[in-house]
């Protein structure tokens, strides 16, 4: 396996194209800009199209159009720009148009935005949160697979460390299994036959070919997301068996927590870690099992406490849950602040453990 030294943005773009992404549209915004630049550099040679849209709203709607025509398509921004995209993402979730949204976020403050919907209607967005660049390479392809499998938009939740760290990686197409044919795609083959297809949020159909209508359609959509919730959760954990303390974190923060917990284990602490890999669906069952025998559950995230809600919902004993994260932004506003640092995280864990006995 030959490794190439790639910046995260380049690795993610290369991987997305290896997965068959052939359309990308977005508007520059740091730290997302690197992904857009790499898509712009690489997509034409792969037979694809990359557009620098007028704004995020145009970018996501161009992507929706390309995806409706059957292409593997993606857009992206950071949380601020993805806030602008919510109408189109909601429409796509409800009219079942699969595409990928790369949130190369500035921090972890977009957890609610990613996991709670954000537009209108009964939908959620499958959200993958890789912990490092090698996993980001995998998720850049898995995101397209899950989108096509469930005909739904999928969010890839990145950050400045994933976008900008250079690391030796190997990018090759990954096989996640068979997918249903895109026999719904608006590819023009039904034109003029009276059997032209529709992708419509309200599913009313045509006079000659009525659809189920909004009531039946939106019930079916709600049931689809309930089914996704049941089968697509992913999580990772270690040292849960004998842990008195369990630290929960996602994305890059989880990589830091894993590093610190391994050090604390070496020092004799009975401590473990748990990472939701999918933020939605949240791996609540796995977290409930992992927290069943622990005295305290510490939640570390770089925001005011967003995933904290999901941990409280699913922990075996919600009174054992403590928040040890916080808002921490670099002076530029474009990256993490001082809290994303192993010694700081170690101190916070040890302080929390000292409040109520040894870990």
């Amino acid at each position: 396996m030959t490794l190439e030294l790639l910046e995260g943005s380049e690795a993610i773009a290369t991987s997305a194209i290896a997965a068959g992404c052939r359309f990308f549209a977005g508007y520059p915004m740091s730290p997302f800009t690197g992904l857009l630049e790499n898509m712009s550099r690489q997509l034409p040679a792969a037979g694809g199209v990359c557009l620098n849209a007028e704004s995020e709203i145009e970018g996501v709607n161009m992507t929706l159009g390309a995806a409706a025509a059957g292409a593997r398509a993606a857009t992206g921004s950071c949380g601020q720009g993805i806030a602008l995209m919510q109408e189109a993402i909601a429409e796509a979730a409800l009219n079942e148009t699969p595409f990928v949204v790369f949130n190369m976020a500035r921090n972890q403050q977009d957890y609610f935005q990613a996991t709670r919907g954000g537009g209108w209607g009964d939908y959620r967005t499958i959200t993958l949160a890789p912990k490092d660049v090698p996993e980001a390479v995998e998720h850049a392809q898995l995101a397209f697979h899950l989108a096509d499998k469930h005909r739904a938009p999928v969010i890839f939740y990145g950050d400045p460390l994933l976008a900008q760290t250079r690391i030796g990686v190997s990018v090759r197409p990954l096989d996640f299994g068979p997918l249903p044919p895109k026999d719904w795609a608006l590819d023009g083959t039904g034109g003029g036959t009276g059997r032209s297809r529709q992708v419509w949020t309200w599913a009313m159909g045509k006079a000659t070919d009525p659809g189920p209508g909004p009531d039946r359609h939106w019930r079916a959509i709600a049931e689809k997301f309930a089914a996704i919730d049941a089968i697509e959760t992913r999580s990772e954990q270690a040292h849960v068996e004998d842990a008195e303390t369990l630290v929960v974190a996602f994305g890059s923060a989880a990589k830091f927590v894993e590093y610190v917990v391994e050090e604390l284990r070496a020092d004799g602490h009975r401590i473990g870690w748990f990472r939701p890999v999918t933020l939605w669906p949240f791996p609540g069952g796995a977290l409930a099992a992992a927290t069943a025998g622990v005295r305290r559950v510490l939640v570390f995230e770089l925001n005011a406490g967003q995933m904290l809600d999901d941990v409280r919902i699913h922990a075996a004993d919600r009174s054992a849950v403590r928040f040890i994260g916080g808002v921490s932004i670099a002076e530029s506003g474009l990256a993490y602040g001082d809290l994303m640092d192993a010694p700081v995280i170690r101190d916070r864990i040890l302080t929390a453990c000292s409040e109520g006995g040894r870990s």
């Binding site: 030959t2 490794l3 190439e4 030294l5 490092d132 090698p134 460390l161 900008q164 760290t165 250079r166 690391i167 030796g168 890059s252 990589k255 830091f256 590093y259 530029s332 994303m340 640092d341 192993a342 010694p343």
Partner: protein, 189 residues
């Protein structure tokens, strides 16, 4: 084993290029490498820092290093936070005279007047490569030929005319340690 290097100094001294050269050289040797860059919008004159991690297995190190084995200190300005994370005893290359020879008493330090060395081989712009050559002579992290190849690969077409001078700088930096009559100042060991 993982080896970490922090390079710290002022934007414009060649810090990012030297770090990238080392990381690419290790990658081309089939090893695992990680490079994190940290610099301000000023480009020149502002803080510039880079860290490189090299290992023979998938790396455990974080993109924000908890601690580091070695350092190249190109300028004392802005260097304090990075240097506070060095583990005692590891090698550190100090760019004399911009960095005081008595800096980092807990490290095994090697002073190199990179400006003078670079001028002596008619490569005055390449002090970063002098320091990288010296660093690699001390640590032997990669084959010197890999550094030259990586440097050549990284130069954009409009900078290719500097390849020969950069290669001379890498060799001259290494000779500071290896060659006879070298002006290496071993401050402590």
């Amino acid at each position: 084993m993982e080896r970490e290097l922090v390079v710290t100094g002022v934007g414009g001294q060649g810090i990012q290029l030297l770090a990238k050269t080392l990381a690419l050289a290790a990658t081309r040797e089939g090893r695992h490498a990680m490079l994190s860059a940290d610099y301000g919008g000023e480009m020149r004159g502002g803080p510039s820092k880079a860290s490189v991690v090299i290992g023979d297995r998938p790396l455990r190190a974080l993109p924000v290093l908890a601690s580091a084995w070695s350092a190249i200190v190109v300028h004392h300005r802005f260097s304090e936070p990075a240097l506070a994370r060095l583990r005692p005893g590891g090698p550190a290359i100090l760019n004399l005279p911009l960095v005081a020879p008595a800096s980092l008493p807990a490290m095994t330090t090697y002073g190199v007047d990179a400006g003078a060395v670079a001028k002596s081989v008619e490569a005055p712009q390449a002090i970063g490569f002098v320091l990288l050559g010296a660093y690699n002579a001390v640590t032997r992290l990669v084959d010197p030929a890999s550094l030259v190849a990586a440097m050549q690969e990284l130069l954009p077409p409009y900078r290719k005319q500097h390849a020969a001078a950069n290669a001379r700088a890498l060799a001259a930096g290494a000779a500071v340690l290896d060659g006879p009559g070298a002006d290496l100042t071993e401050v402590s060991r």
